[in-house]
């Protein structure tokens, strides 16, 4: 429960002043009951919500009468190696013309989060892609197949930081003459 009137910024210092002119006040009011933390990004406001309450928060942001975030722009993930995986949602309101970035951080040993397809249908394919690239499981997703990967290659996750790039394969056969010694 956010009881403070002054929102705090994610980086240590000065609260309040850095978030003036943003929509943090309305967002905080809409997310009543959810511990949210805000910081100012380069262009948009970034709000951190705990993963367990993410769908409730997104739905509140969508149905709020002043905010009206009816358009999901982008849904992706960032692999911060030891600190977990951030799921990032970019929201936009077609009526009120403002933007918001919502983040939920998942710890590395518990990569489960609820699906947002019940809030916007646009999340469907975006979550499928995030799941196969990072290994995150979206609970309740209506269609958890791979999107961009072949169906039989869903056990490795390319966009994780510990996934290596491929080695350049040697030319094969036909007397081309390239062997391990020639490299």
């Amino acid at each position: 429960m956010t009881s403070e009137n002054q929102p705090e910024s994610a980086t240590d210092s000065t609260p309040g002043a850095t978030l003036d002119g943003t929509i943090w006040a309305e967002v905080d009011r809409a997310l009543a009951g959810i511990t949210a933390r805000a910081e100012r990004g380069v262009l948009d406001l970034i709000v951190h919500i705990p993963p367990a309450e993410i769908v409730r928060g997104l739905r509140a942001l969508k149905h709020d009468t002043t905010l009206q975030f009816d358009y999901l722009r982008c849904l992706t993930a960032v692999d911060n190696e030891d600190e977990g995986i951030d799921i990032v949602y970019h929201l936009y309101s077609t009526t009120a013309r403002h933007n918001l970035t919502v983040k939920a951080t998942l710890p590395n040993d518990d990569l489960f989060i609820d699906t947002a397809t019940t809030v916007w249908r646009a999340a469907n394919w975006l979550e499928r892609e995030t799941a196969e690239m990072f290994g995150v499981r979206f609970n309740g997703h209506p269609d958890p197949r791979t999107l961009l990967m072949p169906e039989d290659m869903d056990d490795t996750f390319p966009l994780r930081k510990d996934h290596p790039l491929a080695e350049i394969e040697l030319l094969q056969g036909d007397g081309m003459g390239y062997t391990e010694e020639d490299r």
């Binding site: 072949p150 290659m153 390319p158 790039l165 491929a166 350049i168 394969e169 094969q172």
Partner: protein, 223 residues
Amino acid sequence: MAVTSDPTAVSPAAVPAATTIAEPATEPATAPAQPATEPVILPVIPGEHPAEAPRLEPVEVHPGKALYKQILPGVMQIPLDLVLGASRKSSLWPMTFGLACCAIEMIATYMAHNDLDRFGIVPWPSPRQSDVMIVAGTVTKKMAPAVKLLYEQMPNPKWVISMGACATNGGPYTRYDRVLQGVDKIIPVDVYVPGCPPRPEALIDALISLQELIMEERGATGR
């Protein structure tokens, strides 16, 4: 004299003299009967042999020159494999297999600015009736079975042009592990075209090289 309207009446002047025998045909007209006053001369059609010309004459044969060329002038003799090679190269129908960005340059080569139709090259969607497969673009591991299947669906003789850097060895995406590092890992390739994407002129150059390759193969049926 008056023109009679009776079709059966024949004016006496039109009847040749030989038929003035008044007797109707009670006897078979075996003999032309009495010789007419004027002999019947058949007209001579110019160019044909007159009846008196000698029909058979020995032909002078010059050794060292083919017999048929001396009897029947105007006939060429060409080896059959040359004809097969020329006909194969002059009507190459590529299967439209544009995968990625190189497909746009391939389409640009088909269009009016750099015309490929003047070489007899017509894009054809179906693999069953096409000769050459221009692999234009990156082949990913998800797409590789489809590429192999399409190659096997093409009837012989068939050739493959690998267009662009991605089809040659993976191109700029070669370090990604879901990309096939070159299409020659699954199908045999005849001509490689470098570039990212190659210019239409480069693709035309590749197709002309393929035509020269086909002429060198001379219609071999082992493909």
